[in-house]
């Protein structure tokens, strides 16, 4: 029968949470030796489905079969015993352990009760040679590159002789070149007989590597298609449910005078001995969106923290509209005109246990409008909050008194955007403002950024998403190992060229332009 082809079948899986059906009658069948893509937006139910496969959740309906036989997966150990392994989007690696220790963790070979590292090393070296996964077994995880960390994760699965390999958004942290390399590795693994489930929302990668693709939307299965019979446009329509123009609508930018001017900024690293930001200089003008592109961890976070005053610079200067704020506090910089949509909205951007109205005045509670001799004017706060909620369409259960923790991610982000855009500002710093949001929210945020630009603000966008970088920005600065290595025009550059800069393979001397002036 047909079943014989399938190594894993998830049949009619339904998983409900109170108030929401996360997976609604979803069927996914993985053939032996194929690369099967699972496509869907953030929140479409991919994570839930994988959690079911790993026994983290028990579905209300449906069954899982392996090689045609029904299996019961109660916890990750069961999944592991069935030969299912996963590379998580955020690696599950112990940073202070060596590569070898991480690979054997949980399945440690022992001799007389003691760890047998020699045997482990032999097997790891053998695997890494066989599959072309270069790693240094004795290096500490915290010292190796993200790409190598990912290879360690893959080796973890191979060391356990897993035959079903799941890759959860594996390319998010890689350069285009590294992505290419990873896709080759995946193909190699499939040729060796491994079956691969590739979770992604990036259509190009799916088109390049997958054999078949199952699409989820809002918890429902939109069908499974053969990649050779489909197009990017069709997949995109299946995923979002409507035509999506990936191009952002915007006028040509009209850069005005310089708003932000950074010269020779150097910021120490908290993790490494090397400086995180090294001698960086650039300007941002009124009416333009400047995007800092680069792979995560190349100094973007530190650059923004030093700019907004959360971290101290070692050397260098920052000017806002001609005013030197190099030594100013966070508050003073905020007054000088910086608005900041932070990278981690829950860690920095919001006090989750405060109400929505309390969060909306987080940057302004001290202004005379909202306080009198140290006493907060609660009625003013309420009025202000209601205005912002209305203007920015922030949805929540109980309006201004909703505890922010209970709001959805998209609306939490809207609250931050409302607060930062409504505050008097000259420069908007937005760090990964669309991370983890669905297409609707992403479009909204892009629209807001462009509106900000068109109203004469300067916008500094930090993004890891190449599409965002190319579509939204008016000018691209590429950061690599703490330095700005290239300044590009989004209309004239390509993915490939960006990738070369991002991986350090290509660099221009950008500093000269600014230091001369």
């Amino acid at each position: 029968m047909e079943n014989e082809n399938y190594i894993i079948e998830m049949l009619n899986i339904t998983k409900e949470f109170p108030g929401i059906v996360a997976n609604d009658n979803i069927t996914l069948r993985l053939k032996k030796g194929e690369i099967h893509a699972l496509l869907g937006e953030n929140g479409a139910g991919k994570s839930t489905l994988m959690s079911v496969l790993f026994g983290l959740y028990q579905p209300e309906k449906g069954e899982i079969r392996k090689n045609g036989e029904v299996v019961k997966i109660n916890n990750p150990n069961d999944a592991n015993d069935l030969g299912i392994g996963m590379v998580h989007q955020h690696f599950r690696l112990v940073e202070v352990f060596t590569v070898l220790e991480n690979i054997i963790l949980g399945v440690e070979p022992t001799k007389n009760g003691f760890l047998n590292m020699d045997e482990a090393r032999k097997k790891v070296v053998e695997l890494s040679e066989r599959y072309g996964l270069k790693v240094d077994p004795d290096a500490l995880i915290e010292d190796i590159s993200v790409g190598m960390q990912q290879r360690v994760e893959i080796l973890k699965m191979l060391y356990r002789d897993n035959e079903i390999l799941i890759f959860d958004e594996p390319t998010a942290v890689l350069t285009p070149q590294e992505i290419h390399e990873l896709l080759q590795i995946m193909k190699g693994l499939a040729n060796e007989g491994k079956s691969i489930l590739f979770i992604s929302h990036k259509l190009n990668e799916i088109m390049e590597v997958a054999d078949r693709c199952t699409v989820l939307r809002k918890g429902k299965c939109m069908g499974t298609v053969d990649i050779k019979d489909t197009t990017k446009e069709e997949l995109s329509r299946m995923m979002v449910g409507r035509e999506v123009s990936l191009k952002v609508d915007k006028k040509e930018s009209q850069p005005g005078e310089v708003v932000l001017s950074i010269r020779n900024m150097t910021v120490p690293s908290k993790i490494h001995k090397n400086n995180a930001v090294r001698d960086v200089s650039f300007d941002v003008r009124r009416g333009e969106i400047v995007c800092i592109a680069g792979i995560d961890g190349n100094g973007q976070t530190e650059l923004v923290q030093a700019l907004t005053g959360l971290e101290k610079m070692l050397t260098g200067s920052i000017n806002i509209c001609g005013k030197d704020i190099s030594k100013a506090s966070v508050r003073e910089r905020s007054i000088a005109g910086i608005s900041h949509i932070p990278e981690d909205r829950q860690k920095y951007g919001l006090v989750l246990d405060y109400t929505l109205e309390e969060n909306l005045v987080l940057q302004r509670y001290w202004q005379p409008q909202f306080q009198n001799k140290g006493f907060i004017k609660f009625d003013e706060v309420r009025k202000y909050a209601l205005r912002l909620i209305d203007k920015f369409d922030i949805r929540s259960g109980q309006g201004p008194v909703t505890i922010v923790r209970s709001m959805s991610g998209g609306n939490q982000q809207k609250a931050i955007i409302a607060r930062e855009m409504d505050k008097d500002h000259e420069l908007l710093v937005a760090v990964q403002p669309t991370r983890g949001l669905d297409v609707g929210a992403i479009e909204y945020i892009h629209k807001m950024l462009i509106e900000g630009r068109d109203s004469g603000k300067a916008v500094l966008l930090v993004s890891l998403e190449l599409d965002e970088v190319l579509n939204v920005s008016d000018r691209i600065l590429v950061m690599y190992e703490g330095e700005i290595v290239g300044e590009l025009d989004p209309n004239k550059t390509t993915d490939e060229e960006l990738g070369l800069y991002m991986s350090g393979a290509k660099r221009d001397d950008v500093k000269e332009i600014y230091n001369a002036g």
Binding site: F97, L105, G113, L115
Partner: protein, 321 residues
């Protein structure tokens, strides 16, 4: 030279409780749980051990035999008592610092209560003489013999034995590797099939065992086999935490830290015997404060490059993948 031998001989029995309890603390924190309740755990062991010694002191067993038996009793008591922490911190995901504080308050009250009811006093007084004047043969070795095998207690030997075992367990076994993973990155451990909560229970239990033994050894080496509810173990449980931090959660460094703190304390109580210090005429109370002051200074100095297990104090929540 005699003063030197005197200091070493007195320092070692003081260092052992600190060493053992700090090692216990290391095992819990390496598994990801903060154990502020070590003071209470020590007291539980000290009291159970002393109580048992009181019960069997007339049986004709040799003091060192009594010590070994009571050590086991103390270990069991500490292990049981520490379950208060593991249940609250691991199963109930409670605030670990508050739970530890409650444990520290519980034990003195319990000791006072039991002692007042049974002995009509504030604690247990035993008459076992654990003191070893000189170990045969080994005590005759020049210098080494004077330092380690004269005027000492069996606790010193056991303490160093436990240190060696702890080091091996932590670094050379499957268990040690898994325990450390749980304290650093519990989700990584969980994803490879390690039962994080179980490991944390074990980590806490080990600290209970070592804390209990450490407490009993405190009563043996420092208060002549007695223990009372008012003075308790004089903050040794807290000092042990400082020793653990100073020792950077590593067994060998912890040993040196324990010796350092024990030295400070021994010095404080030996001022009249050291002519130089005696002549300074500083009240001895100042010296008594020294270990505590030193703790603050040491913590301030090490705070910048302190590498605590990353996940310590954070309850493990499986659903937060």
């Amino acid at each position: 030279m005699d003063t030197f031998y005197y200091l070493v001989q007195n320092m070692l029995p003081v260092s052992i409780p600190l060493l053992l309890v700090a090692l216990g603390g290391m095992f819990t924190e390496r598994s990801g749980v903060i154990n502020i309740g070590l003071e209470g755990t020590m007291l539980s062991g000290a009291f159970a051990g002393a109580l048992f010694a009181y019960a069997i002191q007339g049986s004709g067993l040799s003091p060192n035999m009594i010590l070994l038996i009571c050590m086991i009793v103390a270990a069991v008591a500490g292990a049981i008592f520490s379950q208060l922490l593991s249940f609250a911190a691991v199963t109930m995901k409670a605030n670990q610092v508050i739970v530890g504080t409650a444990m520290n308050m519980m034990m003195p009250a319990l000791i006072l209560l039991i002692s007042k009811m049974t002995f009509n006093s504030d604690g247990v007084t035993t008459s076992v003489r654990y003191f070893i004047r000189k170990v045969p043969v080994l005590g005759d070795i020049p210098v080494i013999g004077d330092m380690f095998f004269k005027n000492t207690y069996l606790t010193v030997l056991i303490g160093f034995l436990i240190l060696i075992i702890s080091t091996i367990v932590l670094y050379k076994t499957k268990f040690g590797l898994r325990l450390r993973a749980c304290g650093e990155h519990p989700h990584a451990a969980d994803s490879v099939g390690i039962n994080v909560n179980r490991m944390r229970y074990i980590g806490v239990t080990i600290s209970g065992i070592l804390g209990g033994i450490g407490g009993y050894f405190y009563s043996v080496g420092i208060t002549d086999g007695n223990i009372n509810g008012h003075n308790g173990v004089a903050g040794f449980g807290f000092l042990a935490l400082a020793v653990m931090i100073f020792g950077q959660w590593q067994p060998i460094k912890i040993m040196f830290a324990a010796l350092f703190f024990a030295f400070l304390r021994t010095l404080a109580y030996s001022v009249p015997l050291i002519p130089f210090l005696d002549n300074l005429n500083i009240p001895t109370d100042y010296y008594k404060m020294m270990p505590y002051v030193a703790t603050i200074i040491v913590l301030a100095l090490t705070s910048k490059n302190s590498r605590a297990p990353k996940a310590e104090g954070i309850p493990f929540d499986k659903s937060q993948r």
